[in-house]
């Protein structure tokens, strides 16, 4: 190995080891994608991380941002980011701990939205006492339903219906046309709000779910989508610093 090559290798290792930002691929990390998402993470303070990414994910509904503190996980989803989002702040982290991050695009056609206006007020005492058998996620079997791969338009959920159960409860049902989905997202956009966001993450084949709403969801639009995941980004790593004296 030539002196210049050794110097290059040493520099790469020094940067990886000292900067708190790793260029190392973890054992289970894919090669950096050619057309997918490329992720970097920087320490903006001893305990604050900023993720930045670029790349294309044609046809994706958005990206999930995940973290772990061991290279093989378990991975936890931090947020569902719309495609237009390219940064994420992960603040006030565990001190002197390794953090691993990755992104995955998610796909799936959303149903047509339904608008819901709930009655005024909150749970009545009678409603609180009532059984909410309608609320747990469940699969209602339907025969003769045409299905398609979860990313395809043929998988678009149909017949989304919202039945108002009480002042804070809505039962949603829909027809599941998806094959191979990893789950379903129920998304809402409160009246006056910006974009749809997930309010429930449901298992595959679920087509009935009762949502208990928040105060700002008295008037909102709702939709459901089956989801699958695409090619994950590289894994980016950082190590947090010490907890400053007197900080929490």
């Amino acid at each position: 190995m030539s002196g210049s090559v050794r110097a290059l290798a040493a520099a790469v290792l020094a940067v990886a080891g000292l900067s708190g930002v790793s260029g190392c691929a973890t054992p289970d990390a894919p090669r950096e994608p050619r057309t997918g998402t490329v992720l970097t993470v920087t320490r903006v303070s001893p305990l604050d991380a900023k993720l930045s990414w670029h790349g294309k994910a044609p046809g994706a509904a958005g990206r999930i941002v995940e973290f772990a503190t061991e290279p093989r996980g378990p991975w936890t989803i931090l947020t569902y980011a719309p495609l237009s989002q390219t940064t994420y702040q992960h603040p006030d982290l565990l001190p002197e701990t390794h953090f691993y991050y990755r992104l995955r695009p998610y796909y799936g056609p959303a149903s047509r939205p339904v608008d819901v206006t709930l009655p005024k007020g909150s749970f009545t005492k009678a409603e609180q006492r009532a059984e909410h058998d309608w609320a747990p996620p469940r699969t209602i079997r339907r025969a003769g339903v045409r299905t398609g791969p979860a990313r395809r338009p043929a998988a678009t959920p149909t017949d989304l219906r919202a039945k108002i159960m009480h002042a804070n409860g809505i039962r949603f049902t829909w027809t599941d046309h998806a094959e191979g989905e990893r789950g379903y997202l129920l998304e809402d956009r409160p009246r006056g709000g910006g974009s749809f966001r997930p309010v429930a993450v449901l298992d595959p084949d679920i087509n009935s779910f009762g949502l208990i709403t928040l105060p700002n969801e008295k008037r909102a639009s709702y939709r459901v989508r089956p989801v699958t995941y695409g090619e994950r980004s590289n894994i980016a790593r950082l190590t947090t610093g010490e907890r400053p004296a007197g900080r929490g």
């Binding site: 290792l13 080891g17 691929a25 290279p71 006030d92 565990l94 001190p95 390794h98 429930a200 929490g248």
Partner: protein
């Protein structure tokens, strides 16, 4: 092997060693010196609470009395103790359900010292004081919880890796509990699934 490939192989090997070493040294969180431990526990089912391994269910919407499905771990005294676990609220028809507690077991001061609860819609909050910790408790979402308890000093709660709550801690004896527990102002039904629960101490 060409020089170029030797360099790549060397860097890859070094990276592998770095990651392997770091993974071994930092499987736990916060600075080192931790020892993994496996405290014993008892399963508690009260009222309409049902426990099936790590699935905890309140089957009723009764807004009074003891409604709980929990694991109650062994009491510890002194030192620093760390809890890590992942929960997923798989259904929640009810209102406010406590998920994880650090319980004061000291004679004369016994009672829930820290209670992490979820409110319908996914708001996670500290029952004492009502502070909002996060909105990550949406039905179906997996949430990671770490608590670090320096007995006699401080109790810190991290949600998805971020510090969300700090409270001074008295000395004495404490224990961890998790599952699904009706708060005084809440009710079921609810089902909570926990996973990857770990404990350390130093």
């Amino acid at each position: 092997m060409s020089t170029k490939y030797r360099v790549i192989a060397g860097i890859s090997a070094a990276c592998g060693l770095l990651l392997a070493a770091s993974g071994a040294a930092h499987a736990e969180v916060e600075p080192g010196g931790w020892s993994s431990e496996s405290p014993g526990f008892k399963v508690q089912e009260r009222g309409c609470g049902q426990v099936d391994n790590l699935t905890f269910t309140l089957t009723c919407s009764t807004a009074s009395g003891d409604q709980r499905a929990e694991r109650r771990y062994d009491t510890y005294t002194g030192g620093t103790h760390q809890f890590e676990g992942y929960f997923r609220v798989t259904s929640m028809g009810g209102t406010r359900i406590s998920l994880k507690q650090t319980f004061n077991d000291t004679d004369g001061d016994a009672g829930p010292y820290f209670m992490l609860a979820v409110e319908r819609g996914g708001r996670l909050y500290a029952v004492h004081g009502g502070d909002t910790l996060s909105n990550a408790g949406t039905v179906g979402a997996t949430v990671r919880v770490n608590t670090v308890h320096e007995v006699g000093e401080e109790h810190r709660t991290y949600i998805n890796g971020s510090l969300k709550h700090t409270v001074d801690s008295p000395g004495g004896s404490f224990y961890d509990k998790f599952g699904a527990y009706r708060t005084s102002s809440g009710n079921g039904p609810a089902t909570v699934v926990w996973s990857n629960v770990k404990f350390w101490r130093k």
